[in-house]
């Protein structure tokens, strides 16, 4: 792996940039791996990287049906934060946020991770009570959170509609200053390159079509490029979790929905914070290219279409313009939608399955991007040691039957009801 650095960039300038090598190999599958990770998204690639880096398990393959950066890792709003309410989620996402800090250096890849602050807006007295409660819960567990007054929010984001007749009056907010955004596909490329350099085989265009199970134990996978043996298999393919688990006779607590996002034409810097409103459900940030990135509710019915309904675009645009009227003149450039694994308490599933040596990482709902490093770290632990990391232990597959749900939003078994 040729190191990326200012010096090498300068030296490349002297020889016409002919010396750069490809960022990762395109290996043929070997007959057998110690661990096979199914799905080379942000989570799968991070898992492979930490297996090799932290646990020394280097005979690892990551199998990808399509190409790297073609799934949800490139279909999100790139927001990173850890300011959740429940302690289990706080522990998991704070572990992830700590890994984000310094990850670009570690991977030697510019992830454009920008801790510009992630702000929840409060639009009523009860919103502010709820935000204060969440802030207290965070600070009790050592995670940064600051409650902001209306005047402080107005100073931080001067473009917010603070007029007396604002459609969504701003009473204040709760900010996590360590939150922010990252360049989404760079996360996949950075992990793929770093994992490859440690000996991991990242194999694209290799769809898993079956699991080879002998006596209740998985021993390998069937793929479009032949059978591959494995000591352990880790499923990690949002949108395909149900289908993959069915190959092992498992029926998952997952329903697939659509989540949309869209960007405007690029403009000069105007919003330097991530603005979120959870009571109306609108996410606004500005990418380094200058595009305004908008997101909102999922489409609220099961679908694999990866294209959203126009009604949602209209709704999110209306909310964004009501919050920041200056956005009204912008034209939208692109919209996209990702297939989300909605679990039945809004929290992910990481851990063992009833099939020996088969592991599952799924159910990230619409919050998977921020969790890429943490999810990979925890899943690598499970795949290396054969048991869940203590932080991941509450996120077991059997919690739905035992009743130990981790229900951040209090939605119960209806992932589309907020």
């Amino acid at each position: 792996m040729k190191r990326y650095s200012a010096f090498n960039l300068f030296r490349g300038g002297l020889d016409g940039h002919k010396g750069w090598t490809r960022a990762w190999r395109a290996p043929e599958p070997k007959p057998h791996y110690d661990v096979i990770v199914v799905g080379a998204g942000g989570h799968g690639l991070a898992t492979a990287y930490y297996l090799a880096k932290v646990h020394g398990v280097k005979n690892v393959a990551v199998l990808e049906r399509g190409w790297i950066g073609g799934g949800n890792i490139a279909r999100n709003t790139t927001i990173v934060r850890s300011n959740y309410r429940l302690p289990e989620l706080q522990a998991m996402l704070e572990l992830s946020l700590k890994l984000w800090e310094g990850l670009g250096d570690e991977l030697n890849y510019n992830l454009m991770f920008s801790q510009r602050g992630a702000l929840f807006l409060g639009h009523s007295d009860s919103d502010m009570t709820r935000l204060a409660e969440r802030g207290d819960a965070l600070r009790c567990n050592g995670i940064d959170a600051e409650l902001m007054t209306r005047a402080q929010v107005a100073k931080l984001i001067p473009l917010l509609d603070m007029s007396p007749d604002a459609r969504f009056p701003v009473y204040g907010g709760l900010i996590q200053k360590r939150g922010g955004t990252a360049r989404h596909d760079a996360v996949a490329w950075g992990y793929a390159r770093a994992a490859d350099a440690l000996g991991v085989d990242v194999i694209q265009n290799c769809e898993v079509t079956g699991l080879n199970i002998v006596g209740g134990k998985v021993v390998g996978v069937k793929t479009t490029r032949g059978d591959i043996g494995a000591g352990r298999v880790g499923l990690c393919a949002t949108g395909g979790s149900t289908k993959l688990a069915a190959m092992a006779g498992l029926k998952l607590p997952i329903e697939c929905h659509n989540l949309q996002a869209f960007v405007s034409e690029p403009v000069k810097p105007m919003i330097d914070t991530v603005i979120m409103s959870q009571s109306i459900h609108c996410y606004i940030s500005q990418s380094d290219k200058g595009e305004i990135v908008l997101g909102g509710d999922p489409d609220m019915y099961p679908t694999y279409a990866q294209r959203g309904m126009s009604m949602r675009i209209e709704e999110v645009a209306a909310q964004a313009i009501a919050l920041v009227p200056a956005l009204s003149r912008l034209r939208m450039l692109r919209s996209w939608a990702g297939t989300t694994d909605m679990s039945f308490d809004g929290s992910p599933i990481i851990g063992t399955t009833p099939v020996d040596e088969l592991y599952l990482n799924a159910g990230w709902c619409y919050g998977g991007f921020k969790a890429c490093p943490g999810s990979g770290w925890l899943y690598a632990h499970a795949l290396a040691k054969g048991e869940p990391h203590p932080v991941a232990a509450p996120f077991s597959l059997d919690r739905f039957a035992t009743g130990a749900l981790i229900d951040e939003a209090g939605v119960g078994p209806m992932p589309h009801h907020r």
Binding site: T242, K243, K251, L252, P253, I254, E255, C256, M300, Y301, P302, T303, Y304, A305, M309, S310, M311, F344, F400, A401, P413, M414, H416
Partner: protein, 85 residues
């Protein structure tokens, strides 16, 4: 946007409807705990045709069932639910 054929009102925009759950996940009142867990917390989650319970929430407010394709959004059948509308 989907056009949903309400059996009571005719074709209407999807904006008028709310998705409730797949028919498979309706829990009978006499279900055992194991059966209730299975129905509430697991799904076939098919990529293709699926029987679903919807409600014409901003129209006639009736419960309806749809045979809807989750990949193409095509609706092959729509029916009223007897005694529930």
């Amino acid at each position: 946007m989907m056009l949903i054929p309400c059996p009571h009102c005719g074709p209407r925009a999807a904006a008028e409807f709310t998705f409730e759950r797949p028919l498979e996940s309706i829990v009978p009142l006499d279900a055992t705990p194991a059966e209730a867990v299975e129905r509430l917390y697991t799904r076939e989650n098919p990529r293709g045709p699926s029987w679903e319970l919807w409600r014409h929430a901003y129209g006639c407010r009736g419960w309806i069932k749809l045979l809807r394709n989750t990949a193409t959004h095509e609706i092959a059948e729509a029916a009223a639910i007897e005694g529930a509308a």
